[in-house]
Amino acid sequence: MSQVFHEIEKKIISVLKTESKLTPEKLEKLTQLSPDQIRRGIEWLKLKELAIVNESKNTNFSLGKNGLESFQKGLPERRLLDLIKKNSMTISDLQKELGSVFGPAMGLAKRNDWISSNGNEISLKNYPSSLAGEKTLKQIGEGTISESILEKNDLASLLKRPDFLVENIVKTKEISLSKNAQTLDVTSSDSGAIDVEAKVPEVFVARTHPLKDTIDEIREIFVTLGFTEILGNMTQPSFWNFDALFTPQDHPARELQDTFYLDGISAKKIGTPEQIRKVSESHKKNWRYYWDINEARKMVLRTHTTCVTIKHLAENKPDEARVFSLGRVFRNEKVSYKHLVEFNQIEGVVVGKDASLRNLMGIQREFYKRIGITKIKFWPTFFPYTEPSLQTMVYNERLGKWIELFGMGIFRPEVTKPLGITKPVLAWGGGIERIAMLKYGLDDVREFYNNDLKWLRGATKCQ
């Protein structure tokens, strides 16, 4: 295995080869690297199992305020004994000399029977040659000393005194080379090379939403197939969403449990008087019921984008046209892995002399080809507003089954005639999320609207 080492690593390894068990501080001095470089270098070598780091804990002591005073002037009791070593002194003189330490010094001296008192006069009885703590004070001095060198009992006596000692727990690291590293020849590596195999931090691209990518792709395919995009409102009077599309007012699809009605909102203007009259006549004649204009006024969230194209056709009555509408549609459903209350649909129409079912099938086949689906077939189906009606079935390799995609058909004369559309109209359309699910290999349609950053940042853009 050939390894590439960073300059930092090389320096550390070279130093450790001559002297093992070094602290980072010592390494710093010996390698002339900065603390940060040393820290990083050790981490890299540790990951490569080339360096061993032993961590140990050490307690150090230095002197506190009182300790330092005692180091300079002697312990309070020593100072007391020295004062009366030659001549006895009065209590008040001693108080003046010793100040705040007079009390504790007197107490200790009495208890140890070093002094005797005669009224106000204090005189020496015994003079101890050494006092507990004096040795430690001398050892520490103005420096910092490891606990291991100090005498336990002597240290303990100072620890009892307030502000004599400052305890300092130090964690130390000692770095040495592992066995593997000891035989490494770091000098032979190419100079300036870096570890190109190492992991790097992750960064995330800003991007369009994956579903938007699919929408844009589908939009562009239909534009290249000669279709022009039209836009329309998501909130629609029932008239354009249902009545104009030959869906009777008592049709189950119009019930609250399938369609979102806007609470208390009706449209005043829903169409021209002629459109309203002719649509209502068609309903009365073919479906045999009392057609209620107030039902047609109720505002709904569109259940398909067909309402946008039919309105466009009714307003423009073209002899030849290819238009489509793309956008959100709504169904009052329980949200699940396969159902959303709101999803995207594309719906288009073809008006023209040679408009035929086979041409409609041809447009579908061409579209699927362009999104990479070649195994397709057509089955008959039913829509209230088209006759004949077909649906496309496409084969999904991953799921190993046929999946229903776009529906299509020719608008019924019961739809077109009342709106003054005289030419046959081919219509097709369907949900976009389903196609996007196939594309991104999703089994749960909710993923598109979760805005889960893990997924958004991670989904492959070009599929």
Binding site: I265, L301, N332, V335, D354, A355, M361, P388
Partner: protein, 545 residues
């Protein structure tokens, strides 16, 4: 769409010489979607416009045609009889004015047929019967009934023993204490009188559209049937009857007529209708060039009759095919009989020029700019909730546009702003790495005779150093690069933004939105742990209408 369970072995018996594979391959080309398949059982979904497919008998009729085993229209053979009649009293005319019926004799009723009949009755009630409101059926044991019958009204104290019971109950008791009574009682409204079919002994036969009498219950021992259909208009009642009659004749019963009279009622005719269609229309619409005889044989495969008359084809359509309105329906019937699998897709030679809508183009440019600025595109629903839109962002809920009876708590109100959704997105991603920068363009909804739909644009940036300056720079860059628009900001207040760090955004002196640092209350509500800044502006009225 309704679903029916079919048994292959029974279908084979009904159709004639046919393999299981032929059946399963043909079902989709009849318009029946296979839901699931398990050895001998197959569950298919059928379209509500074909109520004859609510039984395997009806489906077998269709398959016989498609497979070429038996083609052409089924002719009803109804023996004219004077034995059976229903006299209608005028009292029903304001409640449920029409009744019609048929007698079916000498059939064999086994468990399988009984099941099919019950299934058919249920589906007819739900579909073309519009939950029994428009029309409903009662199927009875003929031999338990003494003719003539009277379709009349009684008061709500009238008593009889209802189906599946052994005790007498009053009408009001049935309406209040049984499932069917509670489900369908509303159809009768508050009227003191209710419809009732009573036999010559004065015994109740049926209380339409709620329940039959127990005495006429059909069992596997029943040989002869009486079927009645009641409804709010004559044609719909007869349409429903025509389905039942077709199925019963195919199941081997012999039919006898029931005479109906009184209060604008009359005996059902159940006669086929004739529609003329031009072969050119069929060929044009399908993109084919079929000979007239091929068209006729295709129509026959769809179980219709057809013959040439001059340049046109006259099609004879049995009564149960009331889904056929006119020539375009015959185009479809031809296509089905011809076989959809035989229609080959073609590409039209006609040329039209496609174009993306200018608004879509502008929105796409804007999103490219935002991506260049490091923002990720989010997508949220237009239907949101009070919690996300108002409670979490401390906004006042004044003019709410809500939908009725939503099945989802999270989707009850149309959004009037995009920003709350983006903040909700941030709160769901607090465990993902920062910075998190999101934007969204989409529709918002404002109440305005009836609704004003505007395109709105919002962005948020969340990270430890997020601040006002950053977000102002972003919007400034986006509008400058995208549309050469200069923005000005003016101190402002907003429930979602921090006081003193909120600005209204102006372009050419007109306020187009708001920006600032999201206030701590909102951030706490969303449980976000880093500062968040954001803006929202209306694009409608700014860069397009």
């Amino acid at each position: 769409m309704p679903v029916i369970a079919l048994s292959y072995s029974r279908l084979q018996k009904l159709i004639g010489k046919v393999s299981k594979k032929q059946i399963s391959d043909s079902l989709p080309f009849l318009g029946l979607d296979i839901e699931s398949e398990d050895k001998n059982l197959v569950r298919v979904e059928y379209s509500p416009n074909r109520p004859d497919y609510s039984t395997d008998i009806g489906i077998a009729l269709g398959l016989q045609g498609l497979l070429g085993i038996k083609t052409g229209a089924l002719k009803l053979k109804i023996k004219k009889s004077n034995e059976y009649s229903i006299n209608v009293k005028s009292g029903v005319s304001k409640i449920r004015p029409y009744v019609t019926g048929i007698v079916a004799k000498n059939g064999k009723i086994n468990e399988e047929i009984l099941e099919q009949l019950i299934q058919m009755q249920e589906d007819l009630h739900m579909g073309i019967g519009r939950k029994r409101k428009k029309s409903s059926i009662g199927i009875h044991d003929l031999d338990k009934i003494s003719f003539p019958l009277t379709y009349t009204t009684t008061n709500r104290n009238a008593k009889f023993i209802p189906l599946k019971s052994t005790k007498e109950s009053s009408v009001s008791h049935i309406l209040e204490n049984t499932d069917v009574g509670r489900d369908y009682g509303y159809i009768l409204g508050n009227s003191a009188q209710v419809p009732m079919i009573i036999d010559s002994n004065g015994d109740t036969v049926s209380f339409p559209p709620i329940i039959n009498a127990a005495i006429t219950t059909i069992t596997t021992k029943t040989k002869n049937l009486f079927v009645e259909v009641t409804g709010i208009n004559k044609e719909d009642a007869e349409d429903m009857l025509s389905v039942v009659v077709t199925i019963l004749q195919t199941a081997g019963f012999t039919l006898e007529s029931v005479k109906i009279s009184g209060a604008k009622n009359s005996s059902p005719k159940l006669e086929p209708k004739k529609i003329s269609v031009n072969p050119t229309l069929i060929n044009q619409m399908l993109g084919l060039n079929l000979s007239t005889s091929k068209i006729i044989s295709s129509l026959k495969k769809s179980r219709l009759d057809a013959s040439i008359k001059g340049k046109n084809i006259i099609c004879t359509i049995p009564a149960y095919r009331f889904d056929i309105f006119g020539p375009m329906d015959l185009v479809e019937e031809t296509a089905l009989g011809y076989g959809i699998q035989n229609l080959k897709p073609t590409l039209s030679s006609s040329q039209t020029l496609g174009q993306i809508n200018p608004i879509s183009i502008q929105l796409k440019s804007l999103s490219q700019i935002m991506i260049g600025l490091g923002y990720l595109e989010a997508l949220n629903s237009s239907l949101s909730s009070k919690r996300v839109l108002y409670e979490m962002t401390n906004r006042n809920a004044t003019k709410i546009i809500s939908v009725l009876d939503s099945k989802s708590q999270e989707h009850t109100i149309l959004r009037d702003s995009i920003l709350p959704g983006l903040l909700e997105n941030l709160s769901r991603n607090i465990h993902e790495s920062y910075p998190q920068k999101l934007f969204e363009t989409g529709t918002i909804f404002l109440e305005d005779n009836p609704i004003n739909e505007k395109t709105s644009f919002a962005a948020v940036s969340a990270h430890p150093d997020a601040n006002f300056t950053e977000i102002k720079s972003i919007l400034q860059a986006a509008l400058q690069t995208g549309f050469s628009l200069e923005i000005k900001t003016k101190t402002s207040t907003h429930e979602t933004f921090e006081k003193g760090r909120t600005a209204s955004i102006l372009v050419n002196g007109k306020t187009i939105g708001v920006m600032g640092e999201i206030n701590s209350k909102s951030i706490e509500n969303y449980k976000i742990r880093v500062p968040v800044v954001g803006f929202e502006i209306h694009l409608s009225g700014l860069i397009f209408d």
